[in-house]
Symmetry: C2
Subunit: 465 residues, 2 copies
């Protein structure tokens, strides 16, 4: 599971870092909540989140990226029993709720929050994101998802999950409504707030939004004045062809997951190409690659730590999650038997090869495949001392053209803590990681001064008042 680092001959490209987590006892490393040092079970307490936020800000992370899912993993064995028994991504709290608490004890840390366009009504959801962006001083990113779980669709009163490409068509229209609300309602000069005259705003600079489309019908004066970023920083993670087209159009940051450089590099290249086709500068998208780092002062200690970790993997929980991700019930499969190179991924329609192509030249067993995803999900696991980890991160960036990482974890919060204590100083000494946060909202932190708002080349800009 470890990947040996190439010698770091890559140019000194700056590396961006998010922490990747979810509001529950299990995110992508099933079983690790049973480790005596793990604090995942404390997810229901506010102190858990305050401590995590303070830790990540100490490490100068750009953001905490919070995943979400509105349904239960119930493909494995045709029921949710295994997922519930092992806590495999259930329970899961609302990720939006913990963000304001963390904002109260940090000043710079950003928050990337997953929100599902299939289940969030657009007008109140736009207001919720704007309010978040206000009270965090512009630190909000929205990870746009469309939802692939049938269980989530049923929970929302839908007979079945909407077809994949249709979900993206709906999402395109949804984004148009959001852009109208965020960019086209209140002009920058609308709020006057003159105590002398009593005038709060200029009505002629506040525009009613009208949208009469195929899926959405809205006539609204947006209830929120513009937040620091107006449109929050837009994240997206779709790896399918349609998903990449959506990302090329809307995303300012893309989250890519795959076990090898060979999986990641073409997704990055293709998404940049799709952005260029939309008239955008392909470098106006920041790519974050999923990875997990298990670091210790020496290589030997790191290996020992990794060996200890593997004892905490819950294989059955990993299979339950893997079954839902691939839409394939693996409960009756022989762990030692080879699995076909391409498992049909009916639900996600994402590239199933992204699970398997770490070494595409051989046939994988189900056990190997499952184990490959059981620590931190389908990204690589870098195990080593600070120097070899830094080398690996740098060469991964060089080979894939990503801008940084969404760092997953096995132990909460130890793996983030160790990364911050050991790897961050090494990256800083190499000049590839910031020593101080830049000023301004999250979008400026990632793209530079003057970039608080979406660019003129971004489709949101069309709807500016």
């Amino acid at each position: 599971m470890s990947i040996v680092a190439k010698q770091a001959s890559a140019p000194a490209k700056k590396i961006r870092l998010n922490a990747f987590a979810a509001n529950g006892p299990v995110h992508l490393s099933p079983g690790f909540w049973t480790h005596p040092e793990d604090r995942s079970l404390e997810y229901k307490t506010i102190d858990h989140w305050l401590d995590l936020a303070r830790l990540l800000e100490r490490g100068k992370f750009d953001a905490l990226f919070l995943a979400d899912g509105n349904g239960v993993n119930d493909v494995y064995g045709g029921s949710a029993d295994t997922a519930i028994r092992l806590g495999a991504q259930i329970p899961r709290g609302d990720p939006f709720v913990v963000v304001p608490a963390m904002a109260a004890v940090t000043r710079h840390l950003g928050f990337g929050v997953t929100g599902n366009v299939s289940y969030e009504p657009c007008v109140p959801f736009a207001r919720r994101l704007t309010t978040l962006d206000h009270i965090t001083g512009g630190r909000i990113a929205w990870n746009i998802v469309t939802g692939f779980l049938a269980s989530a669709a049923k929970a929302q009163g839908q007979a079945k999950v909407t077809a994949h490409d249709t979900r993206y068509d709906i999402a395109d229209e949804y984004m148009e409504v959001m852009y109208k609300l965020w960019e086209g309602s209140w002009q920058d000069d609308a709020v006057i707030a003159d105590r002398a005259t009593g005038q709060f705003a200029a009505p002629e600079r506040v525009h009613k939004i009208k949208h009469d489309g195929e899926h959405f019908h809205v006539e609204a004066i947006f209830m929120s004045e513009p937040s620091p970023q107006r449109t929050p920083l837009l994240f997206q993670a779709g790896a399918s062809t349609r998903g990449r087209a959506f990302a090329g159009r809307h995303a300012e940051c893309v989250f890519v997951s795959g076990p090898s450089r060979q999986v990641i590099a073409p997704i990055v290249a293709d998404t940049r190409r799709k952005a260029a086709e939309q008239g955008r500068d392909p470098h106006d998208i920041r790519f974050f690659s999923l990875a997990t780092v298990i670091v210790a002062p020496t290589q030997a200690e790191a290996s020992a730590k990794f060996d200890e970790y593997t004892r905490y993997i819950n294989q059955e929980a990993a299979l339950a999650m893997f079954s839902s991700w691939t839409g394939t019930d693996f409960s009756s499969h022989d762990l030692g038997a080879p699995i076909p190179y391409v498992v049909r991924d009916a639900a996600m329609n994402s590239a199933i090869e992204s699970f398997t192509i770490a070494d595409p030249d051989r046939v994988w067993t189900l056990r190997e495949m499952m184990m490959h995803n059981a620590i931190g999900g389908r990204g690589p696991v870098f195990v080593g001392d600070p120097i070899s980890v830094a080398d690996a991160l740098q060469s991964w960036v060089a080979d894939t053209n990503v801008d940084g990482f969404n760092l997953s974890y096995a132990l909460m919060p130890n793996d983030f803590r160790d990364f911050i204590d050991l790897v961050v100083p090494e990256l800083q000494s190499r000049g590839v990681y910031k020593r101080h946060y830049a000023a301004g909202p999250l979008r400026e932190k990632l793209f530079g001064p003057g970039r608080a708002r979406v660019l003129d080349t971004h489709p949101a800009s069309i709807f500016r008042a």
Copy 2:
């Protein structure tokens, strides 16, 4: 506008207090944001809310009660221009977003948050409330509203606002879905979290929710394990006949608004009667009466302060709000002309006489009526020294049978600060106000030990697993 206190011969009934506010520059006192000491314009900053929460906890308030509205006041003059120009309840941020931030700096203060059943999809909304209840340690109350603004309905893609009584029928069914999710999904003994065996939960104790009703169709395993209160403390504010029936059935706390004891007392009595008809103990509902207190060390100083305040009332903004509340466009009415005793309240279908019955024996002019509601809304304004204010509060409680007050304000946060510095000690010295918070979740704080969950007589209990 001030009400002279009766001599306090009332029994020493304990008084409960919430602060009543909204996430915007104007709540119920239009124009006061122009006062040099007012901080309402800072509503977009997190420090504004942290400071307010710390202040209210210092004053041992039970909760901060946050109003909300999803639409703009656009009845006056047939447009939203006046409301926008004067900031009359627009902008308004999402009230849920500021709660976790305040929870991070307080330990006991509760949060009553307005959520609209017409616009919030039930499954994710139930999860949001549960997550809030988790991270606040059980400090969440939900103020159930159905929405009366046509502008809000249009903003959600609805052709028009649903008829009043139908909204309550839908709300009844909505509550049934919520109760199933909160009370009937995870048993108390479902979560095991045994690090030794790796078992997180017992699947046979987590029940899939099925609801196939007239308005809602849900098949879901709830994603959240039970929070301290399970069902959050339920607030309701409907004063209409149908609203009182709903409150009698569902509400554990009722928020009543009216300018006089004669308005409030029968609402309280009738709602308690309706609760009894549902098999509930009529005293299992706590009533909070809207009031504003303008207090100073001496009566003369209080009067001077009140006189100064009246200069900040924005009459046009007050009329714009009053027009939406009553569904009557007052833009062309003569301020000096008498208005009919009963104005038809088509939109709210609440008792319009609650605006006018402060003195039912005479005809009111529009100016009088508007001014009567321009400081803190349609509740009384108590102006005086600490002793006379305490007398007034106690006699109001005695005469109406309410349990306490939702305290509105003219100046944010000065009126809360002055109340806490001057009136709270007076109430404490009389033995009618707590010196320390009780332990436990909000429901226990209000109803006593052992009352963390809804009672067996509450309709939510029917759906317990």
